[in-house]
Symmetry: C2
Subunit: 246 residues, 2 copies
DNA sequence: CAGTGGTCTAGACCACATA
DNA sequence: ATGTGGTCTAGACCACTGT
């Protein structure tokens, strides 16, 4: 008897669930609206809560949902376009409108950063912390690594570690002529301290943007910026960003 | 009695597990080496398999591990640097070294793409499929959307839908003078068909790169490329990419 | 075939936010 | 105090890959 292949490729439940929920979000929910809680949704779809959660996690990863412990699950607004690759030739600190300097101190750079800076991993560098906000929401936390050699005129202790020191480092850095810049984007998970600044749980998916600033034929500074992957779409270059930056 | 705060912030098990495993990967394992299976690892650390899996998932997200069903979990090599934002002024198809044209047909573009192209969502466009390989490994799957208006000299059916048609569309596109380009990067999850091309499971985290090509004051084409987030670090611009592209 | 990772269940308890 | 999402368990079965 010719058995026709039924369900030869059974789709996982959570995958099917995800598409069902996704369609429902498009048609039946408004941005900001809160969904029924997980236990009720699981019951309504006849699956275990863990399975339902697997679907919700995917939708959150795609920026469709926002979940907050103790509060609930809400429909997320479309991702914000965040300019990252514009103004090819500016030092950090030049465009202060979106970035906010937090503080600075001196410590060793991580091995990967030391390699980019081409310095001894044991050597301590200036580390400037900054935060980026867009429309009131924190979107990125940045660590800017500046070797002492890049800011020779900075009196070592002319300001105590803190905001004043941070501004001094940025000011000195801007006296160099910027010769070029390159960037890389990769997926990461938020470290505990970054997570706190971004108002997310540790381990949340983030986009890591590594920027290398070149001057005097050397790498003068390296920045590692941690962007919330759920709420941000990083935009690069171009003359006219209106459409993508919406 | 002054109770000193012990464990006032109990770290989740999977988080602690992740750091332990991460350190072990650095010190005790070589790239490509296979780890003990999940059941044994869970037993060894005294946790449920689900908890162990949560730690492994994070490490895979960060590109430290590679897991394949039926095979096992192996230590992943460092991420590949994949140039995405170089050659600011080239049409797709010009640099054929890494991209491989698959085929083409005609269909409606997704709503988001139609908006970028500034065309009626019902209008059908050319869709060219391409694949990108680096060091033998598939790293990206691309859909290139080209409205008929951008390639007016293309005889509609001068080639049947397929590779020949794809090459014809690219050839015609390159006759236009490219005036600019902008790009955006965001996190997504692999659609079923992309997942197959990328040799991953559906839903795997991917980096979506949306490129808008401008010519004659209009958006002449839009490309949506799906990059494997686990194996790729996307690199942008700059004069000298050696260090970051390693 | 045996062994692997992937999916799913039905429960339990915890941390957090809010009223 | 209540209700939310986050963590964790101990099992089960499935899909896939190799031999």
């Amino acid at each position: 008897m010719g058995t026709t292949q039924l369900e030869s490729v059974p789709e996982p439940k959570y995958w099917h669930l995800k598409t069902v929920l996704s369609d429902a979000l498009d048609s039946e929910f408004a941005v900001g609206e809160i969904l029924p809680n997980e236990r009720e949704l699981a019951a309504r779809f006849g699956v275990a809560r863990a399975t339902l959660r697997q679907a919700l996690e995917q939708l959150e990863l795609e920026g469709r949902l926002q979940r907050r412990r103790g509060v609930g699950t809400t429909v997320a607004p479309p991702r914000m376009g965040v300019a990252v690759g514009d103004s090819e030739h500016t030092w950090p600190g030049t465009t202060a409108d979106t970035w906010q300097t937090v503080d600075a101190d001196e410590a060793c750079a991580p091995a990967a950063v030391a390699r980019l800076l081409d310095i001894d991993p044991e050597q301590s560098v200036h580390i400037v912390r900054r935060t980026r906000k867009t429309r009131g929401q924190p979107v990125a936390a940045e660590l800017l690594y500046v070797p002492a050699a890049s800011v020779p005129d900075l009196a070592a202790i002319d300001a105590p570690a803190g905001p004043a020191r941070a501004r001094a480092v940025l000011r000195e850095l801007q006296r160099l002529r910027l010769e070029g810049r390159d960037q890389a984007v990769e997926l990461g998970s938020a470290r505990a301290d970054d997570a706190k600044q971004l108002d997310r749980l540790p381990g949340s998916p983030v986009l890591l943007v590594t920027t290398r600033y070149c001057a005097q034929g050397r790498t003068a500074a390296v920045s590692v910026a941690t962007y919330r992957a759920d709420t941000c779409r990083l935009t690069f270059g171009g003359t006219d960003m209106q459409l993508l930056a919406g």
